[in-house]
Each structure stands twice: as structure tokens, then as C-alpha cells.
């Protein structure tokens, strides 16, 4: 397989992902009963497109499954099958199987799948009432095919020797419109023993060229050991968009004539067929000129999806490079502005205006570049229904997942990291939160549990909530476990809310029995750590008997950060603004020294631990000033006051990694470059505080 093919294949898999997520969405709509004929058609098209692509690469399992799947959907389209919830369930499961088949195709895993066979059986049952298995789909197509060729004569030949087979392949009007590519067809047919291709008919001169009117056909000459049925099945993928005819088998006489008639073995000739590829993006523009297409032809419809926005597929690395470059420009711009302000009033007013304008433009530029990387959370949300269905089966629970706000846009970097914690939390909700059907009915709820997964923007953050209507957190059990594990003392008198938050504690799991689903004690603490690594926060609210709601707040991007620049001694640091609560002058508040020489600060009657950054990071230079305190919010230790020398300002900083050329540094989450070109470290406050606690403990231990 050459590089080109691999590229095409990668593209195919990317497309499959999109198609499947579309499919999932449409099927969900159908399942909820809000679907109409158009939804069903859209779902059908998605499956059909996957099938078409799969045929070009010869993924047989996928093709045959997609075919059966399609057939059943087609029954529904022709109103021969009613879309009851049960039927929808089967369709949804078929979608899952397709997904796993695509994964297998990607990994070149050809092992049989049990689930597939099970679902195939279910599909067969659905198709059966008409006693026509898979034929309906073909029939529909055949009815509308104007140039229908006679039923291919099948000459079975069991001898495994090479046979010559000639196939006449005539694309229908909608062939190119439906995304088929004759070149691809031919190159994949080579694997089946295609040895000669002859083009028949004339290609129209360019001015008259009409995509919908294919004037050429192909004679494909095979030297193959496959029987006609195999060849037939290869062309099956094109059944909706072309007609073909297996003309002759072992007709040795005809061969030399062919060679004489068309001496050019037209390998390169299909190139004129390339216009479909080029024309695809132009489909919209050409649409008005389109000749009447057959309305019920399924494949032709796929490219006419209404309101599809033009898009460009770009490698992420390229965008990343752009993001970095823009980051540099922002820094250089800041440096320029700083130099200018240092130069004082001597600077020309016009220069100043220009620099100001540039500052605005660079900000816009940065925003636009970041917008390129923004993706709707849908790409990760759409994977969740499958997780839920898989699990619902395993747990014997009835669960409905409701998604909302899928269009909320978040930076790709964040999206990629989201799938894992979300899956974990869903599992948790399903395993621990939701009750079994009987228990639910007893409690006066509907037998089907509902989990809501929602996303929304709030300021510079995206808020994701997962709420279930299950039993809520059993505080008694949680508290008992926590005491058992020595996480809290019996007389700690925790508030109900504090007890709830205990489940985020490392090594904590309330599952009465360890199941394959969750309960290995690596549950919510992992989620919490992951979220914190992403610069986010998570918390939960539980109502006993009514359910539980997890909330995750994440930054919109991991590439820039809203930060507060502070000075300690000669050093500059950045505090993530999300941590900062307020800044205080020390002369306005009281600072008390504790017996162990640590300090506390009184703020509105509250005592806050005090941490000197100078001390914690061993900063040198400048005599000790420390007359400012920044109150920060930490997950683990509540509010803490940080002593600093100077507050420089608030700005957006571009995150740079220390790990790229060095290694992780405790207390620091990364670095950025200031206007003067110097590096400033971004402080990881929770980590810094833990670090400080251990150091002071060690010192205390060393003293005693």
C-alpha cells in the first residue's frame, strides 16, 4: 500500500468518526421519538457513506454489516417497519457495532466479533417480516435506476485457477455527487485482480462538463480466482450510484480484440474523473445548474446536506505552530509597548497610537487563532451514549442519557483530555448513583434513570455538569468508610457537604462490592486530579434520594491563561487568576504569629494560614517588604494568604512548558515570557502549599 492510499485511508477514518457521530445523533433523535423522515434519511446516508468508503478499502466485515444495517433502515424509510423504541435500540446498537468495526478495520484486526453477530441476528429479525432479508435495499435502488442492466449472469466457476472476467461499469448520474471516486474504485479493484481498464465514451469538453452527467463508462478486465459472486459483492457498494454488468467469464477470444481496439491500458485515464474530488467543495455553487436528480436515490442526497458550512481540514500541528507564533507576537508586542512607555513623553504621539492599534490587532489575532482550535464539546459528548449503553447492559439498569449544550466550544487541547474524566464520572453515576429499576419504582421514581450531561460557557470557563436522579450520596456509608480508612476522625463533625466531598479523596470507593465497572478505589480522586491538571475545578452537590450533580469548571484553553503578575524580591511570578480571591494591604489587616512561628491572617473574622512566597521558593534579593497579601482559593486547604512584595498587574499569558527541555518543577505549573523577554514562572498554588507543609513538617521533625 503506498502513501497516497494511507493518506486516503486516514481521511476515511476521520470521516467515519464524523459520520458515526452524526449517525448517533440522528438515531438518538429517532429514539426520543422526535425524528421525522429527514432524520431517518440522514442516518441512512451516514451509514451509506461509511459503506461506500469501506468498499474502496476492502473492509469486508464493515461493508456487509453496513449493508444489512442499511437494509433495515430502508425498510423503515419505506414505512414497512415501524420505528418503535425497541427497533431504535437495535439501530443504536448497530451504530455501536459499526463503530467497533471501524476501530477494528483501523487496527487491521479481522477477528470475528460476538456483539456483531448478535446485533446482526437482531437486524435479521427486523428485516425478516418481509421475508426478504437484504433485498429491499437493492430493490429500491433498482426501481429508480434508469439504465438498469439485466441481472448479472452468474457463471459459477469453482476452479481456483485464474479466470478472466470482464465487467462493464456505468456510473449513474449521481455517481460523483454521492462522493464516489472512480479512481479509488479502480485502485482498490486492483487488489481483486483487475489487470486492464478500458474507458468507453468521450469525456465532455470542459465548458460542457456536467458533473451529473457521466458520459464515460469502464470496461474492467479481471484476471482473478474469485468467483462472480465475490466480484458482485465488491461492486455492491456502488449499487445506488452505478450499474454494472458482468459481461463475460473466460471469454478468451475477446481479449486480443480489446487490446487492439484500445491499445492504451488506461490506468491514468481515470484522471479526468478527478473533477468529482475537486468539484465536491463546489457542489453548492453548482447545485442550481444541477439536472433533475432522482429524488429517492439515497446516495445522491448525501452531498446535498442542507446548510453544510465549508470547512478545511488542517493538521493540528500546523495550527499549533500558528498559535505559538502568535504567542510570540503577543510577547514582542508587549515588549515594544513596555519600551515605549519607558521612553516617556518624548515618543511621537503617532507612534504611540500605532502601537496601541497593534496591541488591539494582536489580541484579535490571538483570539482568532484560538478560535480555529475551538471545537464543540460534541465530539467528546457523542462518545458518551455508547459508554452508557454498554454499561447499562452490564449493570442491568435502565438509563437514559440526555445531552445538552453540545455546541459549546472548547479548545482542542481541553477536548482531548475530557473524555477520560467524563467516562469515569458517568460510570460512577451509573454504578453508585442510579438504583436498579425495582428500587427506583419502589422509591416512586420512573424505572428509567436519567443522567444529564450538559455544557455551557460561563465567563472564561466552560462548565460541564453531570447530574443523575439516583439515590444521592449515602453520607453514612461515606463517613463510616472515611473513618475506617482513617481519612477523618470520628469527632471531626463534618458538615454534610464536607462528607460529600470526601469521595474525591484518594483511595476512596464506596462500592459495596468491587465491580468491573468502578470501585477499584481509583475513582473520583483520579477525576479530580485530572481536572486540576487541566487547570479546572470540580465539586459535587448531592440530595439524598433525589440525585447527585457533579460540576466541572475548565478553562477554555490550555494555551493561554489569565494571570496576575506579582513580584517577590527580584523575581516575577504569575498566579492563575482563577485561584485569586482578593488582594489585601497588610497594614489594613492583622497578622498573628502562632506558637510554632507560623502566621495567620484575620480577614472578616476568619483566620487564614499565611504562606510567604519568598520563603517557600527561597527567593533572594531586595530587602524583605512583604506588605501585600493575595488571598487564593485552593481545593485542599481552603483560602490561603500569600505574602508578596508587589502586585504588577493582570494579563493574559502564553503558557510555555518547562518539561520540554527540563523536567517538572514542584510548585510550578509552567512558565511564560514577560514583556521584557524574561521568563516568569506560573505558580501551582495547591502544589506549592502542600510542598510548603511537607517542608515545614520536615523542619519541625528535624528540630525535635
Amino acid at each position: 500500500m503506498d502513501d497516497d492510499d494511507e493518506d486516503f485511508e486516514a481521511l476515511f477514518f476521520t470521516e467515519c468518526e464524523e459520520l458515526l457521530s452524526d449517525l448517533q445523533e440522528h438515531l438518538d433523535v429517532l429514539y426520543s421519538g422526535n425524528g421525522d423522515q429527514e432524520t431517518l434519511n440522514a442516518a441512512f446516508r451516514a451509514v451509506h457513506s461509511v459503506k461506500g468508503g469501506a468498499a474502496a478499502f476492502g473492509f469486508d466485515d464493515l461493508i456487509s454489516f453496513a449493508h444489512k444495517f442499511e437494509s433495515v433502515m430502508d425498510l423503515a424509510r419505506s414505512d414497512e417497519l415501524e420505528l418503535t423504541p425497541d427497533v431504535c435500540q437495535v439501530l443504536l446498537r448497530s451504530g455501536d457495532v459499526m463503530e467497533s468495526l471501524i476501530e477494528k478495520a483501523r487496527e487491521r484486526d479481522t477477528s470475528p466479533s460476538e456483539t456483531m453477530n448478535k446485533v446482526l441476528a437482531e437486524l435479521a429479525v427486523l428485516a425478516d417480516p418481509n421475508a426478504a432479508d437484504e433485498s429491499p435495499a437493492e430493490e429500491v435502488v433498482e426501481e429508480v435506476s434508469a439504465t438498469e442492466a439485466p441481472e448479472p449472469e452468474v457463471e459459477e466457476d469453482d476452479v481456483p485457477a485464474l479466470r478472466s472476467v470482464e465487467v462493464h461499469f456505468q456510473p449513474d448520474a449521481g455517481f460523483f455527487r454521492s462522493g464516489h471516486d472512480a479512481l479509488k474504485l479502480i485502485s482498490s479493484a486492483k487488489a481483486m485482480g483487475l489487470c486492464k481498464t478500458v474507458v468507453e465514451g468521450e469525456i465532455q469538453p470542459l465548458p460542457d462538463f456536467n458533473l451529473d452527467d457521466c458520459t464515460v463508462s469502464w470496461r474492467l478486465h479481471f484476471e482473478t480466482e474469485l468467483d462472480n459472486a465475490k466480484i458482485e459483492s465488491f461492486f455492491l457498494a456502488y449499487e445506488a450510484a452505478a450499474t454494472w454488468d458482468i459481461l463475460s467469464s473466460d471469454d478468451a477470444e475477446e481479449e486480443p480484440v480489446e487490446v487492439a481496439a484500445a491499445p492504451a491500458v488506461v490506468e491514468e485515464k481515470p484522471a479526468p474523473a478527478a473533477p468529482p474530488e475537486v468539484a465536491k467543495p463546489d457542489a453548492k455553487a453548482e447545485a442550481p445548474a444541477k439536472s433533475a436528480s432522482k429524488p429517492s436515490e439515497p446516495a445522491a442526497a448525501s452531498s446535498k446536506k442542507p446548510g453544510i458550512s465549508k470547512s478545511l481540514r488542517v493538521e493540528l500541528a500546523r495550527v499549533d505552530r500558528l498559535v505559538n507564533l502568535v504567542g510570540e507576537i503577543v510577547i514582542t508586542q508587549a515588549a515594544l509597548a513596555q519600551k515605549l512607555s519607558e521612553a516617556g513623553p518624548s515618543v511621537d504621539l503617532e507612534v504611540e497610537h500605532s502601537v496601541e492599534a497593534m496591541s488591539r490587532q494582536t489580541r484579535d489575532l490571538q483570539e482568532s487563532v484560538m478560535a480555529i482550535r475551538a471545537q464543540p464539546v460534541k465530539s467528546v459528548f457523542s462518545r458518551m451514549p455508547r459508554v452508557v449503553r454498554d454499561l447499562a447492559d452490564k449493570l442491568g439498569k435502565d438509563v437514559r442519557l440526555e445531552l445538552s449544550g453540545e455546541q459549546t466550544e472548547v479548545d482542542t487541547t481541553v477536548i482531548e483530555e475530557l473524555a477520560e474524566p467524563l467516562t469515569h464520572m458517568l460510570r460512577n453515576s451509573m454504578d453508585h448513583g442510579l438504583e436498579g429499576p425495582e428500587e427506583r419504582i419502589e422509591a416512586g421514581k420512573s424505572g428509567t434513570g436519567i443522567i444529564k450531561l450538559a455544557a455551557e460557557h460561563r465567563g472564561e470557563r466552560v462548565i460541564i455538569t453531570i447530574s443523575d436522579d439516583g439515590r444521592g450520596i449515602n453520607r453514612e456509608v461515606v463517613l463510616r468508610k472515611a473513618i475506617e480508612k482513617g481519612l477523618v476522625a470520628e469527632d471531626d463533625n463534618l458538615t454534610p457537604d464536607e462528607i460529600d466531598q470526601l469521595i474525591f479523596h484518594a483511595g476512596f470507593s464506596t462500592a459495596e462490592s468491587v465491580s468491573s465497572v468502578s470501585g477499584r478505589g481509583v475513582g473520583m480522586d483520579v477525576v479530580k486530579r485530572k481536572i486540576q491538571e487541566l487547570g479546572g475545578r470540580c465539586w459535587l452537590k448531592s440530595e439524598p434520594g433525589l440525585g447527585c450533580k457533579f460540576t466541572i469548571a475548565l478553562p477554555l484553553t490550555l494555551a493561554v491563561l489569565e494571570g496576575m503578575t506579582i513580584a517577590v524580591g527580584d523575581e516575577r511570578y504569575i498566579l492563575p487568576l482563577s485561584n485569586v480571591v482578593e488582594a489585601l494591604r497588610l497594614d489594613s489587616v492583622e497578622l498573628h504569629e502562632m506558637p510554632d512561628s507560623s502566621k495567620v491572617l484575620t480577614r472578616r473574622g476568619e483566620y487564614l494560614p499565611v504562606l510567604s512566597i519568598r520563603h517557600a521558593l527561597k527567593v533572594t534579593g531586595d530587602p524583605l517588604k512583604e506588605d501585600l497579601a493575595i488571598i487564593v482559593d485552593t481545593e485542599s486547604d481552603g483560602h490561603v494568604a500569600l505574602l508578596i512584595d508587589e502586585l504588577i498587574g493582570q494579563r493574559q499569558v502564553v503558557l510555555k512548558s518547562l518539561e520540554a527541555n527540563y523536567h517538572r518543577v514542584d510548585g510550578v505549573s509552567g512558565a511564560t515570557i514577560l514583556g521584557d523577554g524574561r521568563v516568569a514562572l506560573i505558580l501551582d498554588i495547591p502544589n506549592l502549599i502542600t510542598l510548603n507543609n511537607t517542608t515545614s513538617n520536615q523542619i519541625a521533625e528535624a528540630l525535635h
Binding site: A616, K656, N661, Y662, V665
Partner: protein, 169 residues
């Protein structure tokens, strides 16, 4: 730094590039001592500029600097070999080197020369016992009256298993 390269010991006619037999080294001074780094690893040489120190950094670390948007850690070679921290001025230089996919900076007093060293002229480091720099020096070579210690940056900074591709035996 001089442009022309001078050949040590037996002169060779053709310019050797990344050859088993010979290799070019950038030599630089730290106090009285001369060190060499194989030229293919050297990316650039930069005037010293103040760095940003990291919390709990090792004694020989000078913190990080901004190399056109990339954060690069800087090591003080004098301190790395047991000496005091260099009191860096504008006359000091930072040698930027690439080790595998990492970029690091090495603070030295001055860059002196580029020399071509024949593999046969490299002498193994005599085991003196307990010297800090022992495993960081891949060999010794004499350049006139001075002794050049060839640095093995990989074992020095990456602390990974010693690969012999850079060690000219």
C-alpha cells in the same frame, strides 16, 4: 572565537564531518580549564543574560532563559564540576546545545576555538577516584599545551543509559 579550524596532531587534507575517525569540537574555557563539545550538538552561542531561577533548583542550575520563545534550562559548568557559582557578567557566554530532543544551555567563561580531533588522539579518562566529573567526560585530548576535556552531554544532563554513538572510542 576564531573562524578557521585548526587540526590537531596529524593534519588531514579533507574536512571531516561527523566521521568515525575524526570529529569537530567547540572548545571553551571555564577558569583555567578547557572543555570541548562535539560541534553537531552545539546550536548557538549566546551572551549571558539574567535567568529566572526555579524553586529548589540544583546548586549548579542557573534557572531558565527565554530562547526565542522556548524555555531553556541553563547549567553552570563551573559549579557542575564542584566549583563555586560563576558570577556571570555580560562577558560570559551560554552555549546552547541540543541533546536528543531537548535544548539546554551551559554557562561558561568564554568560547575559545573549533578544533578537529582524530579518534585515535582521544585518551581515556584516567580513573582518579571520586572525581565529580568522571563519567561526564568522554575523553581527553591535548591541544598544544592545554588539555581539552571532551564532555559527554548526554550522560551529564539526561542521566539516561549511556549511548556510545557520541562517545568516540
Amino acid at each position: 572565537m576564531t573562524d578557521q579550524s585548526q587540526t590537531l596532531s596529524a593534519p588531514t587534507a579533507d574536512q571531516p564531518v561527523k566521521h568515525q575517525e575524526s570529529a569537530q569540537y567547540v572548545t571553551f574555557l571555564v577558569g583555567e580549564k578547557t572543555f570541548g563539545i562535539v560541534i553537531v550538538m552545539v546550536r548557538e552561542i549566546k551572551q549571558w543574560s539574567p535567568t529566572t531561577s526555579l524553586p529548589n533548583q540544583k546548586p549548579y542550575m542557573r534557572g531558565v532563559l527565554n530562547l526565542r520563545g522556548t524555555i531553556v534550562p541553563v547549567h553552570d559548568l563551573r559549579a557542575r564540576f564542584g566549583g563555586p557559582l560563576t558570577s556571570a557578567t555580560e562577558n560570559h557566554v551560554v552555549v546552547i546545545a541540543a541533546i536528543k530532543d531537548q535544548t539546554i544551555g551551559i554557562l561558561v567563561d568564554a568560547v575559545s576555538d573549533i578544533v578537529t580531533v582524530l579518534a585515535d588522539d582521544i585518551r581515556p579518562v584516567p580513573s582518579t577516584g571520586g572525581n565529580v566529573g568522571d563519567n561526564c567526560i568522554s575523553g581527553l585530548v591535548s591541544n598544544g599545551d592545554e588539555l581539552v576535556a571532551l564532555l559527554d552531554l548526554e550522560s551529564m544532563f539526561l542521566k539516561e543509559e549511556l549511548t556510545d554513538e557520541l562517545v568516540v572510542n
